[in-house]
């Protein structure tokens, strides 16, 4: 057993037993971040904070929500919205945060792509991030079932039907997922479980993995510069803060994050109070009715691009295309054959073009996924879907030709 001296303060007592000073150093005060970064590097902490906001507001919703097809709609729309003190606030906060979190996720992802932050030792950061994207998608989808409105019901119907896998007709699988022939009570209760227990646990675990995966390769920087972190840290500690290329996570990096978070919160609460329809779809304020499909059904905006990749094709091909869209971004570190870990504008015209075409294409897919499936939207959607697939086919080719800079 280790020797323990008498402690002179609570801090010292804790330090003897938990090494809190060491932990603080390793996790915060001497966790080194490059200095040459812009506000896009704050997106990760904004995501972490938004997850916190979702958890807290979710906990309050959970105290009055009832996962029962006969009670769910009224428990949300009557009890929470008009009876519970500030229940409306928790609900609006939860709904808007769930939508906004995806905007930030997409910004975070495309930041990574632009600066090449998934390459050369940073593959696990990217892969764990994509896992977070998938689990957040599942979390958002399961949450969307809970108010049991028309959109909940019909989204549940359509998405679970995807699991019949087209001509394979795995109807047994679809019924197994639902626990019923149609989305019903068993379905709602199990998706409730997924939404409030299993998936949040998985998300927390994967967030841990994501953070851990940052430790060894370190965070990337604006120029993709490769330097020795230990050396730079020594400079900083020696007081040569100007020359050093790094800053400590706490408090220097965080001070910038906190400012960006403030800006984000102003925007977020503006949406919560005055502009929430985009996140709380009006159609979902009609109670679920299994005998009537709403005139227009569409997923939440953040699923539209992959949904649109499914839409223009025949059933089987559509499913394959959809499956491809779901996993395509996982492959990025392996499809990018370039020797450079540099921001796009330094890597040459081909990759810059690839990047911006990808963004525009995904926005086109997103918009086409929402408008009614008529001409010319169908044709535009088809072209955009083909371009999306084409971009992934082209990536290894154009990156292989890239010259080292």
């Amino acid at each position: 057993m280790a020797k323990f001296e008498k402690a002179n303060s609570v801090e010292e007592w804790l330090d003897q037993r938990l090494a809190i000073n060491k932990v603080k150093k390793v996790m915060a005060y001497e966790y080194w971040i490059p200095k040459d970064i812009n506000f896009l590097w704050a997106m990760g902490m904004i995501l972490a904070m938004t997850f916190g906001v979702l958890t807290i507001s979710g906990i309050f919703l959970l105290m009055y929500y009832k996962p029962d097809v006969n009670l769910a709609f009224d428990s949300v729309n009557y009890t929470i919205m008009s009876e519970v003190g500030y229940g409306w606030l928790w609900r609006h906060m939860h709904g808007v945060a769930a939508s906004l979190v995806f905007l930030i996720i997409y910004i975070h992802m495309f930041t990574g792509i632009y600066y090449g932050s998934y390459k050369k030792g940073r593959e696990m950061i990217w892969l764990s991030g994509m896992l977070l994207f998938v689990t957040f998608s599942a979390e958002a989808f399961s949450g969307y079932m809970l108010p049991w409105g028309q959109m909940s019901y019909w989204a549940g119907m359509v998405i679970t039907n995807l699991f019949s896998a087209g001509s394979l007709e795995l109807n047994g699988l679809v019924e197994w997922i639902r626990g019923d022939y149609v989305p019903g009570d068993a379905f709602l209760t199990r998706f409730f479980m997924l939404h409030v227990l299993l998936l949040p646990l998985v998300i927390m675990g994967v967030i841990g993995l994501h953070f851990a995966s940052l430790r060894i390769p370190h965070v990337n920087n604006q120029e993709g510069e490769d330097f020795d972190f230990d050396e730079e840290a020594e400079k900083y500690k020696a007081g040569k803060k100007k020359e050093s290329k790094v800053i400590p996570f706490q408090p220097v990096f965080l001070s910038k994050d906190v400012f960006v978070m403030g800006v984000f919160m102003i925007f977020y609460f503006y949406l919560v109070f005055y502009h929430y329809q985009f996140a709380l779809d009006p159609v979902n304020f009609d109670p679920a009715d299994g005998l009537k499909t709403p005139a227009h059904i569409y997923p939440e905006w953040y699923f539209l691009w992959s949904y649109e990749i499914l839409r223009p094709f025949s059933k089987d091909i559509g499913l394959v295309a959809f499956g491809f869209a779901q996993v395509a971004f996982f492959l990025l570190p392996f499809l990018d054959k370039s020797p450079n870990t540099k921001p796009a504008h330094k890597r040459g015209k081909a990759f810059v073009a690839w990047f911006w075409i990808m963004i525009v294409d995904m926005i086109v897919l997103t918009v086409m996924g929402k408008v009614p499936p008529v001409s010319p939207f169908n044709e535009i959607g088809l072209v955009a879907a083909l371009v999306f697939i084409g971009l992934f086919v082209a990536l290894p080719i154009i990156t292989k030709k890239e010259k080292a800079v």
Binding site: L40, V272, F273
Partner: protein, 310 residues
């Protein structure tokens, strides 16, 4: 500078996406319906000036109270709502507030030719043997337009000066629509019951009424508790003004509300379906103000932290 450029790019693409999935997509999904500002321009104005006193007599002679009650004048309903629904499909309205809620031209046309005023001629075509349950008024032998104008004047004279939003909703919509978040069914506000038997008896009455109503309308009209959030204000306004404009073929009749009456109905639907509206407006500025202050302080803190780094 660079940070601002990056921000501009991010904001630009976010806004384009927003524009695409919200205003643009919705403009493609819903046809645009221009309202008529509650003018009822398709209905004729006879130009006759009514006389309320004469109207009172005409009203009695025309036999209106064979089916309608006028509670404010002590004229009770001839049947209870369930029986009335059995006889007519839907309980005929009490006319105490009619003069205040409905448009004059609309009332005049309704008295003469109900199916036309209500815009349900697609359902009630005498040629196919389907007549509207309310018979048109053929006149008492004098100038029919004058007689009708008198009745309308009478209804206006007995109507209260100010109708509460709740009353407006109950009178104009409440015989066909439920509003369960306000304990309202088509046969009135649900009282508190001491015994299970009484409560079940009441539920049975409601169910019987709804059955009749369903036979008459083709489907049970939806509960309106949350409609204020599931439909846009523009949709509701134009729909109330003329249901056919938004849902061609619907069996919901034109209600004939004046613009003011419609505003009252919407105000009540907001009170029940979106009760947090006022609170949002009250709390919002404080929360946003808080974060503005927070952000300003955070900005200066950040600056002080980064000062000796460059």
């Amino acid at each position: 500078m660079r940070e601002f450029k990056i921000l501009a790019v991010v904001v630009f693409f976010s806004l384009v996406t927003y524009w695409g999935v919200e205003p643009f997509a919705h403009s493609q999904m819903h046809k645009h319906v221009e309202g008529d500002n509650f003018q009822y321009s398709d209905l004729e104005d006879s130009g006759k000036v009514g006389d309320a006193q004469r109207g009172a007599n005409t009203f009695m002679s025309a036999g209106c109270i064979g089916c309608h009650s006028v509670e404010s004048q002590g004229m009770a309903a001839p049947m209870d709502p369930v029986m009335a629904a059995g006889a007519y499909g839907v309980n005929p309205p009490d006319l105490s507030t009619a003069g205040a809620l409905y448009d004059e031209k609309f009332l005049a046309e309704l008295i003469k030719n109900p199916a036309h005023a209500l815009n349900v001629e697609h359902k009630f075509d005498p040629a196919k043997g389907k007549v509207h349950p309310m018979p048109g008024f053929y006149g008492l032998g004098g100038d029919r337009d004058q007689e009708v104008a008198d009745i309308v004047a009478y209804l206006k004279s007995i109507a209260p000066a100010e109708v509460e939003p709740k009353q407006a909703f109950q009178d104009a919509c409440g015989r066909c629509h439920e509003m369960r978040y306000a304990d309202w069914t088509q046969i009135g506000e649900t009282p508190k019951f001491d015994s299970k038997q009484e409560s079940l008896k009441h539920q049975l009455k409601v169910a019987n009424y709804q059955d009749k109503l369903k036979d008459y309308m083709g489907k049970t009209p939806p509960d309106l508790s949350m409609m204020i959030r599931s439909r846009s204000e523009h949709f509701l306004s134009t729909f109330i003004e003329d249901p056919q404009s938004q849902l061609p073929g619907t069996s919901m009749p034109r209600v004939g509300l004046t613009e003011e009456g419609k505003d009252k109905v919407l105000a009540y639907m907001t009170e029940i379906g979106d009760p947090s509206k006022e609170k949002r407006e009250a709390v919002g500025p404080w929360v946003i103000g808080f974060f503005v202050l927070f952000t300003i302080l955070a900005y200066f803190w950040k600056k002080s932290m980064w000062r000796d780094l460059h």
